[in-house]
Amino acid sequence: MPRPEVQAPPEIFYGETEARKYTTSSRIIEIQNRISERALELLALPDDGVPRLLLDIGCGSGLSGETISENGHHWIGLDISEAMLDVALEREVEGDIVLADMGQGLGLRPGCIDGAISISAVQWLCYADKSSHEPRLRLKAFFGTLYRCLARGARAVLQLYAENMDQSEMIMSYAMRSGFAGGMVVDWPHSTKARKAYIVLTCGPPSISGALPKGKGEDGESCSDSDEEGSQTVHISDRNRPRKRLKTSKKGRGKEWVLRNKEKRVRRGKEVPHDSKYTARKRKSYF
């Protein structure tokens, strides 16, 4: 299946049916939870028990937000898909949600947020869905305003599925240009499916805490959760696809269909009764 990013713009791709999957599929929920846990871990908030105000960019149905709430923090979520936010409302998430487009820049006051996470959202900025979209400008607006709204020393952890190296490089370069310091942390780099890339950015001067955290599984250790490789990414097969209709009319399948199938069976070397005037003849109604 092609990547969701090339199928439709996010506000359309995450329509009602797609959004519904984020409440019904326990597998998707589990993967999202695991990624958000890891993102929070990488955010490295001070361990003093004080709740912080975090930003969840591309919060969708609020799965990642729930992880934040479980860790006791407050959050504000942004998303472009109304359908996803409706699902978030249904789930009664604790954070506040705002309908916004990150590529238009975040309309937030400078220096007010203690940290930002984003799960599988930032790569959407690399696609021009409307003629007015210019990916480079959108990336610039996003990272510029993100830098501005974060408090000094705050971190942003952005998990993303980049299509190729060029894309992740482009995203990184715009982050750096906006003044962020940091780099990329890759978990399970040797696996194609379980591989997760996180951009860890620090706002303000190059941090004292210095080095980037290490990605999981870099030394060849294997995935902890004995999942098969296939179940590590959010990939959705269309469960509610309408079934193929049988090609029958009211009259039944007809003589043509019977003859065609008999021929096919002959070609395959099966035993087939010979054709006669009775072949596929309609029965009388009083039979």
Partner: protein, 126 residues
């Protein structure tokens, strides 16, 4: 949308210099209890723009309007439990369900529906 979020949101339309604070026009307000956490309140106090916060709290429809918050707040007031309670109530327990946010400079309205402010901009506003 809680007043906490209102306090952080600013108008993002191209060319707007002073898009903060957004004027709050609340029509429907709901009250939902939230866990009281003094540490968070003390932490977030430094981040709150108090003037905008009090302005928004007083502008709420009558039955929810918060009148007992002081015009000016100082960090020393955070020692008082009573003040913290009132701060907590206004900041985290009042949810604006329906209404609008209005940009102070251009008058651009951002509608709030089902508690979700719509901050999407039109193409010519980016």
């Amino acid at each position: 949308m809680r007043l906490l979020t209102h306090n952080m949101l600013a108008c993002n339309v191209k060319g707007v210099v002073n898009g903060y604070p957004l004027r709050l026009e609340a029509e429907v307000v709901a009250e939902r209890p939230a866990d009281f956490n003094a540490d968070f309140l003390r932490h977030i106090f430094a981040r709150i723009d108090w003037k905008a916060f009090v302005g928004a709290a007083r502008s709420l429809p009558e039955e929810h309007a918060v009148a007992d918050l002081p015009e000016d707040a100082e960090p020393s007031m955070l020692a008082s439990e009573d003040f913290l309670r009132r701060f907590h109530h206004a900041l985290l327990e009042l949810h604006v369900e329906k209404g609008a946010l209005v940009c102070p400079e251009t008058g651009r309205r951002f509608a709030i529906d089902k508690g979700i402010p719509n901050m999407l901009l039109n193409e010519d506003e980016v």
